[in-house]
């Protein structure tokens, strides 16, 4: 038996236990995750790089979320815990799968309890349905992709095998993209999280690890598929579009979980863009480098997103405007590090991931031709979106830790979990050298940066860029400590200056909504900013969801009119319709 199956057994046991003993169930999930992480580190998995590391990434996230859930989930009834454990089990099945059937079974085990969890905690009736509809759409694409992949082998062997066509990858990628909330399916990510009133631990689970399964699915088949310029460009274009729109929507989101959801979509878009470049390239150093980029970025996203939703959970609120300021040093540090990572800033793993990602696209420019042009455009768009992402995270940090009316209380353990998550992000940054392929590890002994401490970006023999995480952390720490020692002359006593408000009493607080209104106004064409909509002065819409809704309602109107006017009790027209539909199905079946 594969020792990693032990993690499946332990996690499966957490499901019945969770109905009665909540904390014991989360402890079992933690134990299962630790087992999975340990066996991954020991190299028990037979998966190729970087697939084996996805288990490690997911395990880190599950451990952190489970510890947080022990205190957080007490007010959500007896079903939240077993459904949580079952969702984790589904993901473990996906990660351990070696064939398409097991993969799809895991996919369904993951999705169904998540649907139930959203339904049980619903705020709006449609959130759970939207989640399930898009989940099933993704499953349909996965099944078709799997059938085509197996068909290539000419046998009934459903194991993952090398492919000669890029069509299975295209279909499986669309299936996974649906789950990842990639454009135009962004609704599938943010709606269940934001409007489904999903508990924060579920939000973290969905955003940090469920979407990771989408990345895993694409990478799984990508490694088996041949290079494809057009498919690569398609994935690259969709990824870049997603990064830009998701960063934009995150910035203007007033609902904290919706912001987190869009941040997830933005991260997934970045990963998809890297995947696109990988698929488009045909055998180069850059292609190998991109595997490390995908891994590091996925790691950064999953752990930081876990932290983001844990932080949001500690507020016990949905919107920024409802937050009461809760001061805690550990929590503030945790928030700071998590938002730093999601902003793509050093010294966190998110900063490294963003650096590596942008380096990839700027190196892609040296591939010249279409790939060169596409890389430069994509890199520029991602850099632009990263700016918006940083602004979103500053909004989160500001309105959870700086602004807001004083008051409220929190459980200290949740603050420590957030602090631990932030610390993990820094720790992973320092240890990133062990996650990157050895051929990109070097040093500069002439300037006292010894071999093994530097990560290279390169597309040929010579390096393109260098970063040394440990040295970066050391320099930041030393200079920060020096600045503190030299300039903190008041012995830690804060200097408080009364606010001047034009000569009148201070009774107003800056709002998070106002923070983002500059973009609402400047990009009103894209965001479809509407004035005095409902009880808000300004509101924006997810244009893709709006387009889908318009299309669906238009089609429904057309179908109704068609039925009333043409097919109404007319056996002739009904027969024509049936014959035409039958022929179309036959033609489609033949073509596919």
């Amino acid at each position: 038996m594969n020792p990693a199956f032990l993690s499946l057994i332990i996690t499966a046991a957490a499901i019945p236990v969770g109905i009665r003993w909540r904390k014991a169930s989360y402890s079992l999930v933690i134990a299962g995750s630790i087992v999975l992480a340990v066996f991954t580190l020991l190299g028990s998995g037979d998966l190729a790089y970087p697939l084996s590391y996805f288990s490690l990434i997911a395990a880190i996230a599950w451990i952190l979320i489970s510890v947080f859930s022990m205190t957080y989930s007490s007010g959500y009834g007896k079903w939240l815990t077993p459904l949580f454990a079952m969702t984790v089990l589904g993901m473990m099945v996906i990660l351990e799968s070696s064939d398409y059937v097991t993969f799809i079974i895991g996919w369904e085990i993951m999705s169904t309890p998540a649907y139930a969890s959203i339904g049980l905690n619903k705020e709006h009736w449609n959130a759970a349905y939207v989640f399930m509809v898009f989940s099933e759409i993704s499953t349909v694409f996965l099944i078709i992709g799997a059938i085509l992949a197996v068909q290539e082998t000419g046998t009934l062997d459903f194991r993952f095998q090398s492919l000669t066509s890029d069509l299975p990858l295209l279909l499986i990628a669309i299936g996974c993209m649906t789950k990842m909330g990639i454009t135009p399916f962004m609704i599938s990510e943010w709606l269940p999280i934001a409007h489904g009133n999903a508990p924060a631990n579920d939000s973290a689970l969905f955003s940090a690890t469920m979407t990771l399964m989408g990345v895993f699915g694409i990478v799984r088949v990508m490694l088996l598929s041949p290079p494809s310029l057009y498919l690569g460009f398609f994935l690259l274009a969709v990824g870049v579009l997603t990064v830009f729109f998701a960063a934009l929507f995150a910035y203007v989101s007033e609902n904290m979980k919706m912001l987190g959801g869009f941040s997830t979509i933005e991260n997934n878009g970045s990963i998809l863009a890297a995947i696109g470049l990988y698929v488009a390239l045909d055998g180069s150093v850059l292609k190998t480098y991109l595997l490390s980029v995908i891994l590091i970025f996925a790691l950064a996203h999953s752990v930081a997103k876990t932290g983001l939703f844990i932080g949001i959970g500690t507020t016990r609120k949905e919107n920024f405007s409802e937050i009461e300021s809760r001061k805690s040093s550990t929590m503030t540090v945790g928030w700071f590090l998590v938002t730093m990572s999601l902003s793509g800033l050093l010294p966190t793993i998110g900063g490294l991931g963003t650096w590596m990602l942008l380096e990839s696209f700027f190196m892609g420019a040296y591939q010249y031709g279409l790939i060169g042009i596409a890389s430069v455009v994509a890199g520029s768009m991602i850099a632009l979106a990263e700016g918006l992402a940083s602004a979103s995270m500053m909004k989160v940090l500001s309105f959870t830790q700086v602004h807001g009316r004083p008051g409220g209380s929190m459980k200290s353990i949740e603050g420590y979990v957030l602090f631990a998550t932030g610390s993990v992000l820094v720790l992973l940054f320092v240890l990133a050298n062990f996650l990157v392929r050895p051929q990109f590890i070097s040093g500069l002994p002439s300037v006292l940066v010894y071999n093994g401490f530097t990560i290279q970006s390169r597309f040929s023999a010579a390096d393109f860029g260098l970063i040394s995480p440990l040295y970066v952390l050391a320099i930041i720490t030393i200079f920060a400590a020096l600045a503190y020692m030299i300039f903190d002359r008041r012995g830690g006593e804060p200097r408080v200056v009364p606010r001047w408000n034009g000569g009148v009493d201070f009774d107003q607080y800056y709002t998070s909504f106002a923070y983002a209104s500059n973009i609402r106004l400047m990009l009103k064409g894209i965001l479809r900013t509407r004035m005095r909509d409902g009880n808000r002065q300004m509101s924006v819409v997810d244009v893709f969801w709006y387009a889908m809704q318009s299309f669906a309602s238009g089609y429904r109107r057309f179908a109704r009119q068609f039925a009333y006017r043409v097919m109404n009790s007319s056996i002739t027209w009904y027969m024509i319709y049936m014959i035409t539909a039958f022929m179309l199905v036959l033609i489609l079946a033949f073509v596919i």
């Binding site: 405007s321 107003q508 709002t511 106002a514 500059n518 609402r520 106004l521 009880n535």
Partner: protein
């Protein structure tokens, strides 16, 4: 009252006093309008501006409910620092000394409104020959006031050179006024018969020199795209009740110089300057062109000979009078009741009240960066809006 009816005529709306609704040809009982406090929508905040802050030269509190960037509505409170002036029970002369201090920067307009209301109350005709003198005062005041507004428009735009050039011209006009009347704000001009204006031989040349310099600067400002872009489309408003340059910038020919019998402007060939842009730029154009037309009127008054002062100490009697003059901000109305030469009741309808309402409406939907341009383009004076006359 010789000119105003007490039943509603067909004249345009001017504004409200304490006890009257004022139209251009009549005064009727007041319309009471309760101002609703602005509601705060979700996500909004009230950005407080003033009463003590940079960018404003008078004390005024402005509350700006905003969802961020865009100003949804504006509430100006000119009475935050309310001044009280007691005028009732005073002699005409003593009351005059206070009236000219209601808005010191535009004392001439208040002097003219008060004197003409007193003449109306005492049934004194315009045969004393003081209208030319009042016209000269008011047009010089208009030039200085409009220069001040244009100067204030240049400041937020960061146009340092024209800002200081306009400031210098304004100072030169003030010194010109001082050389004619002995006081740069016209204080005490009509206090005694001895204080007649001193028209020096070089006055016309000085005024013409100023006019030429201003015309050049005015033209160059209009050719600056950066400056024009700041003003164009900012603070648009078009309402039939607008007064003064704000009305004329919205295409209305409202001007007390042509539709009020209080002060005689006939014979100067004056025609109101009208623009149709409705925005801050149109208000800028109206004011700039009015400076040029005021210079032309000043030139004519000086050419006609030495103007006379009013001589208030000689005015006694009982009666009710009303007057309306065109101050630099718009229609200034004065209602006056005299009993045995003593002020029994006095009410003013100042144009800044109307302009504040217009400003509040025009600011809706604009963004913060437009605030100063728009505020300055209305030429609002809090001193005449935030005052309670007793």
């Amino acid at each position: 009252m010789q000119y105003y009816k007490t039943t509603r005529g067909g004249g345009r709306y001017i504004g409200q006093t304490r006890n009257f609704t004022v139209y251009s040809d009549s005064i009727v009982p007041p319309i009471r309008v309760e101002k609703k406090p602005s509601e705060i929508l979700p996500g909004e905040l009230i950005f407080n501006y003033g009463p003590s802050t940079g960018g404003l030269i008078e004390s005024v509190r402005i509350a700006l409910p905003t969802p961020g960037e865009m100003i949804r509505s504006v509430a100006v409170d000119p009475a935050y620092k309310l001044r009280k002036l007691k005028l009732t029970g005073l002699s005409l002369f003593d009351a005059f000394m206070r009236v000219e201090r209601i808005n010191g920067y535009h004392s001439s307009s208040y002097q003219a409104a008060f004197i003409k209301a007193a003449e109306d109350a005492l049934l004194i005709g315009d045969n004393r020959g003081i209208d030319d003198g009042l016209v000269l005062q008011m047009e010089l005041e208009r030039i200085r006031s409009h220069l001040n507004v244009l100067e204030r428009l240049c400041e937020p735009a960061g146009f340092g050179v024209p800002y200081h050039q306009l400031a210098q011209m304004r100072e030169e006009v003030a010194r010109l006024i001082s050389s004619i009347y002995g006081h740069r704000y016209f204080f005490g001009v009509h206090a005694s018969l001895q204080s007649s204006p001193k028209i020096s031989p070089g006055l016309t040349a000085t005024a013409n020199g100023l006019k030429k310099r201003f015309a050049l600067l005015f033209e160059s400002l209009q050719s600056s795209k950066i400056f024009v872009n700041r003003l164009q489309g900012t603070g648009k408003i078009e309402k039939p009740w607008l007064v003064g340059p704000v009305a004329r910038a919205a295409g209305y020919r409202h001007d007390a110089r042509t539709d009020s019998p209080s002060l005689n402007y006939e014979g100067y060939g004056f025609d109101p300057v009208v623009e149709d842009g409705k925005d801050a730029f149109a208000r800028f154009l109206v004011r700039g062109n009015e400076i040029l037309s005021s210079f032309a009127i000043v030139d004519q008054v000086i050419s006609n000979g030495k103007p006379e002062s009013a001589g208030l100490k000689d005015m006694h009697g009982t009666g009710i009078g009303a007057s309306r003059v065109e101050s630099p901000q718009g229609d200034l109305f004065c209602y006056l009741t005299l009993k045995d030469g003593m002020v029994e009741n006095i009410e003013f309808c100042s144009p800044s009240i109307s302009n504040i309402i217009a400003f509040e409406l025009s600011m809706q939907g604009n963004i913060f960066t437009d605030f100063h341009f728009n505020w300055e383009s209305f030429g609002i004076w809090i001193s005449e809006a935030g005052v309670e006359i007793e």
